[in-house]
Symmetry: C2
């Protein structure tokens, strides 16, 4: 969850820190997706990632709403986890020359990103409810199914098309 900007003493501190962590993560994803979209070839994958980029912009806005509801300034803290996941995506895609292999690598990288977000939003929703912030939980709950759907769509695309094509090479 990145560099701590203040000591974690309470569940509320944890909640706010994790909000700042995922706020950073969503911003980095927004920056990384366009490059990934430009590199992939499979039209379904390209469209799926493009749609998810639009959704991700909405997730950033939703997080800003949660910060506001919770009386906190929207602030990002560096998140080494998402930095690591995106670095891996870059490394592996930068190296793959075959477009179908690159597509398979991109889909796998995007799924690792989705799973990171699924874990963090699940945690944030549980903590918001425990803190009596059902209003914040409700906003966060709009994002979680979109992350899960993006993961499921990537599985579908990857299994049905990319991998089968790449295996021929």
């Amino acid at each position: 969850m990145g560099l701590l900007t203040k000591p974690i003493k309470t569940l509320d501190d944890l909640f706010v820190h994790t909000l700042q962590d995922i706020y950073y993560a969503e911003q980095q994803i927004t920056k990384s997706l366009p490059k990934m979209i430009s590199k992939v070839t499979n039209p379904e994958l390209k469209q799926g990632l493009q749609e998810h980029l639009e959704q991700t912009r909405g997730h950033v806005t939703r997080l800003e709403r949660v910060f506001q509801m919770h009386g906190e300034e929207a602030k990002a803290v560096t998140c080494p986890a998402i930095d690591g996941i995106l670095q891996e995506a870059n490394d592996i895609m930068g190296d793959a020359k075959d477009p179908e292999v690159l597509d398979a690598a991109a889909a796998a990288a995007a799924q690792a990103v989705e799973h990171y977000e699924i874990a963090r939003y699940g945690t944030l929703i549980a903590w918001a409810r425990e803190l009596g912030r059902d209003d914040c939980a409700s906003v966060l709950e709009q994002t979680l199914p979109e992350e899960k759907a993006a993961d499921a769509k990537l599985t579908e695309i990857a299994e049905a098309r990319l991998n089968r094509m790449a295996a021929r090479h």
Copy 2:
């Protein structure tokens, strides 16, 4: 997926590289869990993490079997994603003084770890099948439900106990 030890040209290269990545990740998790277990207080969480440590050692052994079946030397490549996730776990737990808040942070960190593994094993199984390596897929498929069960158990413990306790502080 860490530093590339050889160029990724084929789906087989991707499969082997990702095996090396998760092999490193499982090893790092084996090293990190004992410290986490020693720090947490909640007995169910402590026991759950202890059981998962035993399982994780089994996952390392299974990966060595897959390397062997696939005619590859078992080798780990640095995985910045798991390093980032574990660094976050360390940072957040090192800072939390309240034992119940620390437990909540530990459970959340462990869930981020599980989700990384769920993503990677899902990918590896799909690629193994596409490569016609149902034998490798079958071994990897023994691990995936254990990762999912560990995540589900953490959700259960976290939601039912830790968070409620931590919220009182």
